[in-house]
Each structure stands twice: as structure tokens, then as C-alpha cells.
């Protein structure tokens, strides 16, 4: 599967990364190379192989529905780039 510049632009948009024309070209080439290497995996026959999402065979890890103190409003906002009246402020969404 050859990676096109359009693919890279699409992916950059999905990932909210602003990239320049020059970068699109550069990344298309580099990512294309990497994908070529990755496609080696295609040589392996994996029919009837179950995917392994976790190296450990764990299940059912839960915690009790018990209150734990939250951060203070000040602590929550402390790293905020822009805050206003106890909220995080963000520019126009539309």
C-alpha cells in the first residue's frame, strides 16, 4: 500500500498537526519507508492467531465506589494556559 501525500495530509488533520508543504513531502517519503518495512509482517500467516492486547493475562480489576478527595479548583487550573472564572478558556469552537 503506497502512502500518498493526500494520506499524510488526512492523517495530519486527524492528529491535529499543522504541517507545511515541504513537511508533507518529507513525511510522505519517511513514513512510506517505514510502512514498507512494517509490511514485512504481511509475510506471516496469522490466520487462527488470537490478537494479544496485554502481555499479562489479567481481568476484572476494579475499585470500590468510594470517594477520594479531589484536587482544589486552584490545583486543577494551575497548569492551565488560559483560565477564566474557574474554567479553562478555549477559542471559538465553530
Amino acid at each position: 500500500m503506497a502512502l500518498s501525500e493526500k494520506d499524510v495530509q488526512y492523517v495530519a488533520k486527524l492528529a491535529r498537526l499543522e504541517i507545511t508543504e515541504a513537511e508533507v513531502e518529507k513525511y510522505t517519503k519517511q513514513l512510506g519507508n517505514i510502512l514498507g518495512y512494517i509490511e514485512e509482517m504481511g509475510k506471516l500467516d496469522t490466520t487462527n492467531v488470537e490478537p494479544l492486547t496485554h502481555p499479562l493475562d489479567m481481568k476484572n480489576v476494579f475499585r470500590e465506589d468510594v470517594l477520594i478527595p479531589s484536587l482544589t479548583q486552584q490545583e486543577v487550573l494551575s497548569n492551565g494556559p488560559e483560565v477564566q472564572s474557574g474554567h479553562f478558556k478555549v477559542p471559538r469552537i465553530m
Partner: protein
Amino acid sequence: MEYEPVIGLEVHCELKTATKLFCGCSTIFGSDSNTQVCPVCLGLPGTLPVMNEKAVEYAVKIGLALNCTIAKYSKMDRKNYYYPDLPKAYQVSQNDKPLNYAGYLDIITKEGTKRIGVTRAHLEEDAGKLIHQGGKAGRLESSDYSLADYNRGGIPLVEIVSEPDIRSADEAHAYLTALRNILLYIGVSDCNMEEGSLRCDANVSVRPKGTEKFGTRTEIKNMNSFKFAKQAIEYEIKRQSALLDKGERVVQESRLWDVNESKTKTMRSKEEAHDYRYFPEPDLVPIILSEDYVNSIKKNLPELPAAKRTRFVSQYGLTEYDAGVLTSDQELADWYEEGAKHTKNPKGLSNWMMGDMAARMKEEEKELKDLKFEQKKLCELVDLIDKGTINSKQAKEVFIELFDTGKSPEAIVKDKGMVQVSDPAVIEKAVEKVLGENANVVADYKGGKQGVLGFLVGKVMQATQGKANPKLVNEILKKKLDS
């Protein structure tokens, strides 16, 4: 051209666990912004989720109450997208292995009971809240900036998706009402649409009646009450039908219900379809529920509305309709059942509850907990009527005072001297007096005008300050007149 609507509903139900889905922050509604937030639900770098066991229990309860299959193996997935109310830029939800699937819910329509399929009911976390500022007050499209509050972020939600089995706005309303009732019965949510603990979106399409192929559907959002949901769906059905009649196409899109203009409108630039890039959540492990666990939850489920309704009909001799009204609210049903213990006439009790009591409560916006009297006193009233101590007109008067003061009906009747007169001797005397004073009317009656009997009965009632037993009055009058 006649069109058949095809409707599917997606309901998001906030679970009323004490803490959030993945952390120990409080879930209480209405606190100051960003005061119920911790590093985990804020999505700070390095933090990790840990599943709330109560949320799983409540989700299974929902699945059981909706007749779903409970998955033996279930897992969480990441749904990746960008929006400022989403702290991690992904929502932890369930994609291909939901906790509950293949269920149903029965609704009562004019044509009888109809079964609406429930495709799935899965567990996920809620996002924070945004307030849009500047421009037209509170409107997203024209805002200059927005403010984010993450108190709500991370609260557990169960998303309940129906099959597209619904065929009208009325059915949709019935489904929503029945679903809400079930959720309240099993005690998993406050189901308060104003507070956002119950939200619903509708998928609506139409197709020519008699055809099989689905039409293009739109998603309707921002319906803040069941009433608006019904209106919005009705509007959308009409809108789509009109478009198709004109030979135009329905555009697949999300639309908002505009309360002020009572129409659905395109949501401007909700952009292209999201590519959510679902993949299994690596920070959580699968949920594998044993049959024992599921059975223990099933055993402890309270009696559900449908079962209660059926039982009320057989146990208390109520009509389906009456039983339906009484079981539409669990508190009301429980109130009624407590009362039914204290009377030999449960039907009578039900009539008073659904009639005068309901009317007064609605008028004064009172709830059961605001009533000044308990069930026993209402039963007293029913008994007084059944014994013949008072007549129905007197009973209405007694009820008013019962509702206003909480005084016992027996005491009210005694104090007002309202005991119904049933002594034939006393009534005979009154009848003779009235006959004597209304000779011309008597003549009319004897002349064939049977209708004037009512007038004479009324006069006797008047003469006895309304206390006479109307049945006896009728009997004695007729006897005297016919003799």
C-alpha cells in the same frame, strides 16, 4: 405519497454511583466548576483509569432489566476525537464487545403492546461541560470563546441504543417514558433530563409505506425533554416527507432541535464523519463476568414496571390503564400498595388517587412526600363511602379538607356533622314535606313526566342539607309518588 417513519433512539443514562467511572471524584450535580476533578479525570499526563465496580453492577442491572444478553467477555475501547470537553482527546467507551446486547423493551400503544428491540447498552465515560460565551447568548455557532468545566467528565454513562423499530413520535415517547421508568425502578440513575442525567438523540428516516429499504436518516440532538423529543421527531418526519414529495433528497446529517422556532436545523459544520480509530484500551483489562455474578444481580433486581402492572391487575382488580398509571412511577406504586393493605376496596383507592388526589397534586405542584396525610386516611375515606356513611358529593368535600389539613376523614365527618342520613323515617318526613310543597311537579310526574324525579330528589337533598342517602331518597320518593 404515504411514508412510514423509521426511528431509532439513543439514550445516555448517567449512573448515580457515588464516584466517577475511573476515579474517586464525586458525581454530585451542581457544584462549583472544576471542584470535582482529580489528575485522572483531568487527563493529566501519567494518570491511569481504574474501573468502578458499582458502575459495572449498575450497567448489568440495566442489561437485565432490558432483557439483554450479558456478555461473558467484555472490554473497553478508546474512541479518539478532539473536542475541548474531552480531557484525554479520547473517550473510554465500548466498541465491539459491549457489556449488554440483544435486548428489548415492551411499550403500550393504542394498538396494544409492541416490542422495541434494544441493540446494546454499553458502559462509557461522560465528557465535561462547555459554556459558550459571546455572540448570541449560549449558542455554539456564534460564540467567541468557550469555558470548560470537567466536573462532569468521567461520570459513568450507559448508552442504550434501540433497534430502528419505532414507527411514530408517539411510540418514541412511549419508549422513552417506559425506559425512564425502568431505569428509575432499578435505582441506577436520577433520570433527570434537566440536569442531564438522561439524554436522548433520535435517528429518523422515512420510507414509502410498504417498502423495505431504509431511507437516509438524520440524527436529531438537543432534545431536552420527552415532550420536545416527540415534537422534534414529528417535525422531522414531516420535513423529510415533504422533501421526498418534492423529489428532493434527505441529507445525512446531524440536526438540532430549536426550541424557540420549533424546528430541527442543520448543525453547522459538524465536519466530516469522525474516524474514531477505535482500539482496545491498553490501560484497562477485560471484564469477564461469571454466571453466578450475573444471577446474583438478577435475583436482587426489584419487580420491574411491566411485572408490577400485570400483578396489580390481577391482585387488585384494576384495569390495565389504572395499573399502568399507578406503576408509571415506582414511588406512586409503592404508596398505593401500602394503602391497599388498609382497605377492602383497592379499586376505590386507586380511583381516588388517580382522580381527585392527582388533580390536586398537579395543581399545587406537590409530590407524594409533600402530602399532609398517609394512605390509611385516604382508605378511611373510601371505607366511609362504601359503608354508606357519606355520599359521593360529601366525600368530595371531605377529601378537600383531608388534602388541605391531613385531618382524619372520620373526624372531619363528625365535626361537620356530615353523617349521611339513611334513616328512612327522617327521609320520609323530608320527602313528604317536599311533595307537599311541590304539588304541581307531583302532578307533572303523575301525568307522565318521569324526568322531573331528579328535580324532586334535588329538593329532598336540599331539605336535608345534602346529607340524605341519595339511593334511599330515590326509593322512598318513587314509592310515595307511585302509590
